[in-house]
Amino acid sequence: MSLEIGTDMNALQATNEFLRLYWAPLLCGVAVVAILPLIAGYIVLVERKIMADMQARLGPMRVGPHGLLQPIADAVKLLIKEDIIPDNADKLVFWLAPVLSVGAALLSLAGLAIGPAFQIAQDINIGILFVVGISAMGIFGIVLGGWASNSHYSLMGALRSSAQLVSYETAAGMALVSALLLTGTLNVKSIVEAQNKEGIWFVLLAPVAFFTYLVASIAETNRAPFDLPEAESELVAGYMTEFSGFRWSLYFLAEYTNMIVVASVATTLFLGGWLRPFARVPWLSFLDFAPPVLIMAIAAYCVLRVPKQPTRVQQLFMLAVAGLCFVTALVLAVPVVLPIIKPSVREAVAPFYAGIHGGFWFIFKVSVYIYLFMWLRFTLPRYRFDQLMRLGWHFLIPLSIINVLLVGVALIVGAYFHLQGWGLLLVTTPAAILALVAAFFILAVEKGHDARPDQTATSDFYVG
């Protein structure tokens, strides 16, 4: 009898284990695939709104109040569009390319930890390497798509894209190495935990690496001012020129997912992942109340705007948005308010707190990073291809290599004096300053042989 129970227990445990290992990640994966297009759509909406704000106009206003339903309308439009495959295209590759792109982008999300509890591929010890490697695979989709569509613009866009990725991946990798030197692990969770233990984010310890990664990640995701592969004014739409409807939206999804991925990597490595700002400073613990208060403020703003909505439907919609924010704020408030009312539950709500507040801070930091992307996009003109390559190879890569060396030396010195946490700043700040000096030096050398386009190029030109 007892034996039977034991087997039962074992079986139950095995089932649990099986669930944890296979089904939970699968469900999470399905959730990500289902939700991400929506998130990407709303990032686009936010981007358009921010752009409109910077450009003295309103942006989407027609579909839903303040255009809040615009992404859904866009998605429906894209889905019901005619699916065009050019006659001379390589049909199989043309079909495969966007899928490859979007697949790589979504897969790389699996390695990221949004909070201590939210990670699809639990605890892979090569976490960061996995994410960077898989997201770089997306370039195959772009190159194949550009090649398969059999058009000049597409091919040029694809080639530019691959050259750009190869160049900037190196700089980004070196920047990551600088940060990894500080932890000695590739595991995503351990990296964040290390920042928690030190009580300082790595962006302060390796600012130059963060900067290099920022620039390289913009280039990697093909965002302005490095959006040459899809430079509208030159290559129409680059590698996406011949794609339309659903296929095009897959590329689009891949692009925005990649943005989320690079922003998440930067958040994890440099910005303390899911940690609250100054998590270890006791007198700043009132920041725990920031998330619920912030979201409550959004809810209040929505309620205030209700009377200004022109139609009844839009008023109701606005109220619904306010309600959603209100509920979210309540959920966020529970783990910080409960321990105050009843101190004994502090232990019980701790993982709950870490989970949802971690998620909030992570998403917040990712949003700030993406906002930076957008800001740059609306402000800066586009680089030319040779300038882009020069910036990558002649400036970013030397700078990031020098920085790796300097950070390494700083850490050795730091270890020698047993420096920890904020104390490490004593050695890393001089290293950063040295790296900056190196940067100016590189720039000065660059200016010396500023390659001008060859003016003498001539040819007996005829077109026939």
Binding site: M51, M54, Q55, A56, R57, M156, A224, P225, D227, L228, A231, E232, S233, E234, L235, V236, R377, F378, T379, L380, P381, R382, Y383, R384, F385, D386, Q387, R452, P453, D454, Q455, T456, A457, T458, S459, D460, F461, Y462, V463
Partner: protein, 355 residues
């Protein structure tokens, strides 16, 4: 490249011979917008043809109109009264600003800066509103008539222009903060599309493109028309004749135009707005060439009269068309990305190139 391409400003088609991404030769294929404007002129009376010239450079219709009206006036040997001339000057200078704003916005957009476009259009909108209040149309205005003006200036014209000029001073600083010292902007425009003074003259290039190459030639100063001889203004010139110089020249021109407008509204003479011309215009047989400084360069009208109500022949010298000829010289040795920058910097309007 083209004719359907986002940055060919209409329907320009450019055949490029490339070595990788480097341009080793180019050929502009034009004519997609050909309407036979010059031929139409031969079957219209002098007054009837006036609105057609607005459809050539449709972003600077007032300037085209001024050139045509003055050419016919020269043929008729009449002069527009002083009041008409001053109002013409104000509107033409506003049009110059509007045209340069459109150029700046689209040029920056071609180079990848999204935002200046909207700022430029915001100010251009103000100018178009003034046009609309004056004559009811925003783009193809047909603002002037042969011999003077059809409409009296509306009551608040001076005030509107003054307000615009006041706002515009800080707005132009805004564009400059976004672009002038921007490293990427300088990188994209400095040394790109160099046109030497000798080349520019040889190609017959006029307008800001010529002045950026260092040639101080502006018909407003050289052969004053309308009321330009009454106002003080500078002619900005460049040194190297690259895209960056052309950018600086046009920015300065907008400032100068603003100053001209301010001077002009200070003292608008009273009096009639229409000269002594009959209902039916029958110029004496003969021929005339009259050119003015349009925003894009010298727009000239060569009109031959045979003494009837219709011109025997009208030939138009469109600045866009002639400036475009220098394109191949400017583009050789550059990259594909520079091609769009150079198309933008010449500031062409295909309606004028093709007529």
């Amino acid at each position: 490249m083209g004719p359907q391409h986002p940055s060919t400003h209409g329907v320009l088609r450019v055949k490029l011979k490339l070595d990788g991404e480097r341009v080793i030769g180019s050929e502009c294929i034009i004519g997609y917008l050909h309407r036979g404007v010059e031929k139409i002129a031969e079957n219209r009376t002098y007054q009837q043809f006036a609105p057609y010239v607005d459809r050539m450079d449709y972003v600077a219709a007032v300037s085209s109109g001024l050139g045509y009206c003055e050419a016919v006036e020269k043929l008729l040997v009449v002069e527009a009264p002083p009041r008409a001339r001053v109002i013409r000057t104000i509107l033409t200078e506003l049009q110059r600003i509007a045209s340069h704003l459109l150029w700046l916005g689209t040029h920056a957009l071609d180079i990848g800066a999204l935002t200046p476009l909207f700022y430029c259009f915001r100010e251009r909108e103000e100018i178009l509103k003034i046009f609309e209040k004056y004559c009811g149309a925003r783009l193809t205005t047909h603002a002037f008539r042969i011999g003077g003006l059809q409409y009296e200036a509306y009551d608040t014209l001076e005030k509107d222009v003054e307000r615009f000029c006041k706002d515009f001073e800080s707005r132009i600083v805004e564009y400059e903060t976004l672009l002038t010292q921007n490293r990427i902007w300088i990188g994209r425009t400095k040394g790109v599309g160099i046109l030497t003074a000798a080349d520019a003259i040889a190609f017959g290039v006029t307008g800001p493109v010529l002045r950026a190459s260092g040639v101080k030639w502006d018909i407003r100063k050289a052969m004053p028309y309308a009321a330009y001889d009454q106002y003080k203004f500078e002619i900005p010139v460049g040194t190297t004749g690259d895209t960056y110089d052309r950018y600086l020249v046009r920015m300065e021109e907008m400032r100068q135009s603003r100053l001209i407008c301010l001077q002009a509204i200070e003292n608008i003479p009273s009096g009639p707005i229409m000269g002594k011309v009959g209902k039916v215009l029958k110029p004496p047989p003969g021929e005339v060439y009259h050119a003015i400084e349009a925003p894009k360069g010298e727009i000239g009208y060569y009109i031959v009269s045979d003494g009837t109500v219709q011109p025997y022949r009208v030939h138009i010298r469109p600045p866009s068309f002639i400036n475009l000829q220098a394109f191949d010289r400017m583009v050789r040795g550059h990259l594909v990305a520079d091609v769009v920058a150079i198309i933008g910097t010449i500031d062409i309007v295909l309606g004028e190139v093709d007529r």
